[in-house]
Symmetry: C2
Subunit: 125 residues, 2 copies
């Protein structure tokens, strides 16, 4: 009975074991038109914003710094941070961070900034 | 600078220390019109569904069983489970479970079932 995938919980630690690249969010679940994505990050991202949506970061391992226009938020393991829509931000991880993003389906990770950090959309793991 | 509440991350463990009652979800953050709520549960809930929305459960401590029409999902620490809209479900925790719910603002916890498990809406912690 518990083999039915519809009744199987998503183990985030197991999902991270499948995730070998960085800065490439992978969808693990959907909630209406929102997505839960996991991503491994290390180093510097690019400044960007999302004009139409807030973006939630839940850190599962490590410590993420999110640079904001007038300071920085530090988001540690077990902490949640929501970047409001339209607010410029730049994630930075001195050492590898494993985190979950929650946002509407179809939000590009760099908005329109492009560049090497721009991830493919809607990849599942 | 880091005292600015707009740049302060939400520490879920600290929030749980403030939460003394059970089955009473408290909002810790919003993402557009969605809410992150934490709740302590132990024992049996009531069968109910949410006809208009999926509901996400992220277990932070303990093991939650979610009874479903044709079986049960077991959701352990670090696991995520999404109950699809319209699907009857009944959470159950043999021992205390600490979990986060993610769902649209304004979803009643028992739908229209009422009874002693019905929580107040939109309480923050």
């Amino acid at each position: 009975m518990t083999d039915d995938p519809r009744r199987r919980a998503i183990n985030l630690r197991e999902k991270f074991e499948l995730l070998t690249d960085r800065w490439q969010p992978r969808v693990v679940a959907e909630l209406n038109d929102y997505q839960f994505k996991i991503v491994r990050v290390e180093g510097d991202f690019v400044w960007h914003d999302h004009p139409d949506t807030d973006e939630a970061f839940l850190v599962l391992e490590g410590e993420l710094r999110i640079d904001l226009p007038d300071g920085a938020a530090r988001v540690r393991e077990g902490e949640l941070f929501v970047v409001p829509r339209g607010v410029q931000h730049k994630p930075y991880a001195e050492r590898e961070v494993r985190l979950m993003l929650i946002e509407p389906r179809g939000v590009p990770n760099t908005r329109s900034e492009g560049g090497p950090r721009t991830a493919d959309q809607d990849l599942w793991i």
